[in-house]
């Protein structure tokens, strides 16, 4: 697969610093060893689907607007191209938002200072690919003490076009000390065969607070290899929610590094797979400093012949005393052919910490199904209700109500195509 990138490397307009970044990324990509099935981090996820020719994306027509509104500002990219202009968006004082290609010298310097600082390019090969193919990106710069309360909703739609094409997305969020922001990243496309590389970096200054949400709603032949990489300074707070509907191939890496004491991370996620879909979440929390806390919960419902992968690593460094970290991964397999490969990993090198982790794989509880059936609910509807309840606990925990209202019916419909079976949900 080392050559599949060639079709993506086209001449682009844009600032010299971005071109330099592409070249450096390309050099790292070419130099790096490519993963095989013997590579531990890729053991259950085949990259065979990338063994084909991709073109760089070209501008597409604006799709019909069936996209939700979550109350805040919304940006829509179609096949990587922004629709409309950022200038039209009203933002609170102290909040800057600019496309990489439009950055003025001051903004470009800030981007250069921060980009790549949360993602370890030696560990995340596909971040190098993202660099190498990057045509544009978004920079959200929130000054110290400034607040972006209403969520910034960033939609990436990929369309159904031939030949196969690829899109690279980059989001860089820098929160100054005590700044606050809410961002919803939303990838969609129902029958696309696009390959997307989406890398997000979240840099939280001291005391900063961030609500972050990343929805992978692409379906069908969509392929996405990307990640979210956060760096948390002292006393900052990150609440990051992830959702992936299955498609041909999804691999999302989430890393959180604590760089200052007193910070907290809530990391929650849901994956829903059916057919022969594949979703792979790799999460890694680096507790490098003392007095930080992590609560991580991922849940998956996997049906048909689909395959899910969850690898959750929590690494407590020798200096990270007084860490509290909990990781739970629960999976529901709704068919005999469904598969989950789950591996929670706790590595603890400090002695005064509280840590717990657990992973479970279960089928629908016959006792609960029986209870529902004694109330007259048919078996199929009872199965859908139970699967829904299994993930709904995490949806209910979301702070933003319009987001919950959007996700409830979406998830119910994902669990069953028969509206009669989902009519009592959401």
């Amino acid at each position: 697969m080392s050559d599949f990138i060639s079709g993506l490397l086209v001449e682009r307009d844009g600032p010299a610093w971005l071109e330099a970044r592409r070249e450096a990324g390309l050099a790292r990509w070419r130099a790096a060893e490519k993963p095989t099935r013997r590579t531990e981090a890729w053991k259950y996820t085949s990259l065979q689907l990338l063994e084909r020719d991709f073109n760089a994306a070209t501008p597409a027509a604006i799709p019909e607007d069936g996209l939700p509104q979550f109350g805040g500002a919304r940006l829509v990219f179609v096949d990587g191209f922004l629709q409309g202009a950022i200038d039209d968006i009203a933002l609170p004082p102290g909040v800057g938002l600019v496309r990489f290609v439009d950055a003025d010298p001051g903004q470009a310097a800030r981007i250069a200072d921060h980009i790549g600082t949360a993602v370890a390019s030696d560990k995340h090969l596909f971040a190098n690919l993202n660099d190498a193919t990057l045509a544009d990106g978004l920079f959200l710069d929130v000054a110290a003490g400034a607040q972006l309360d209403e969520p910034l909703h960033i939609v990436h739609v990929t369309t159904d076009r031939e030949p196969a094409f690829s899109v690279s997305q980059r989001l860089l969020v820098v929160l100054g000390d005590n700044a606050e922001a809410s961002v919803i990243e939303h990838f969609s496309g129902e029958s696309t065969a696009a390959f997307t590389s989406g890398i997000t970096e979240l840099l939280l200054g001291a005391g900063a607070r961030m609500q972050h949400c990343r929805l992978h709603l692409e379906q069908g032949g969509a392929m996405h290899i990307g990640g979210v990489h956060a760096l948390l300074q002292r006393d900052s707070l990150l609440d990051s929610f992830h959702l992936a509907l299955g498609s041909d191939l999804k691999r999302i890496d989430v890393t959180v590094e604590f760089a200052g004491p007193g910070a907290h991370c809530d990391l929650n996620g849901i994956y829903l797979l059916r057919g022969s879909e594949h979703v792979d979440y790799h999460t890694c929390i680096e507790h490098a400093v003392p007095h930080c806390t992590t609560d991580e919960v991922f849940r998956g419902v996997i049906g048909d012949e689909a395959r899910g992968v969850f690898n959750g690593r929590i690494h407590i460094h020798p200096d990270a005393q007084k860490t509290r970290a909990e990781l739970s991964n629960r999976n529901l397999l709704t068919s005999a052919g469904a598969e989950i490969n789950t591996k929670p990993e706790l590595e603890i090198y400090a002695d005064d910490v509280q840590c717990a982790h657990g992973a479970t794989v279960a089928q629908l509880d016959e006792g609960v199904l029986y209870y529902l059936r004694t109330r007259g609910v048919g078996r199929e509807e009872a199965e859908v209700m139970l699967s829904y309840g299994f993930i709904n606990e995490l949806i209910e925990a979301l702070v933003h109500e319009p987001l919950r209202d959007f996700l409830h019916p979406l998830l119910a419909q994902r669990l069953s195509r028969d509206p009669l079976l989902t009519r009592h949900l959401a």
Partner: protein
Amino acid sequence: MLKIDNLHARVDDKEILKGLTLTVNAGEVHAIMGPNGSGKSTLGHALAGRPGYEVTAGSVSFLGRDLLDMDTEERAHLGVFLAFQYPVEIPGVSNMEFLKAAVDATRESRGLEALDTVSFMKLAREASKAVNLDASFLKRGVNEGFSGGEKKRNELLQMMLLEPQLCIMDETDSGLDIDALQVVAGGVNAMRSAERSFVLITHYQRLLNFIEPDFVHVLSGGRIVRSGDKSLALELEEKGYGWIADSAAPGEVA
């Protein structure tokens, strides 16, 4: 209404019911008492159709139909309701969603139109008031974090909304304080009618002070070994179950 004849049932290869015979006519209230392990709960689940409860001999007819030939939900549609001894928690599914699904399925099976949301919520709120359960419980996950008494009252609430023909109540009184017991008994008494029958499975005579049974049966060793009127319950309360086991023919009682 319900005719159980020589019912034998086993669970996990262990025979629990060994020739149970019982007839319940419309409008009657039957209390079934008996020592632990005598098969009381097994009877309830065998009638409700719990998977894994295998009937090896005998027959059960309900409203003239072969109950044992029906799926669990079909039995519910026909009017069999089992109030669970240990109601199940379903986190993430709200009580309201659950109740609406149950009522809609039951109404549909009876050829009735589904209730619109507003009418249903009104009904549900009235029922929750009748069982002294705050309306906020309708929004919570099914039985999630409910106390023992709240779960039992939630069972009663479901029974009121589903309006079954046959109510089997499996130790609904156990674990209830006197106030909750009176709420449950009041609910049952309000539902008594010439068309509806009750089978009350209980350890304690106390419940029968509040719900007066027409018949009392003693279940022991998987069979009904004695039947009588409400005075039998008082006798059991006084003497325990030993004298019945003693008086039964050797070999008849496990």
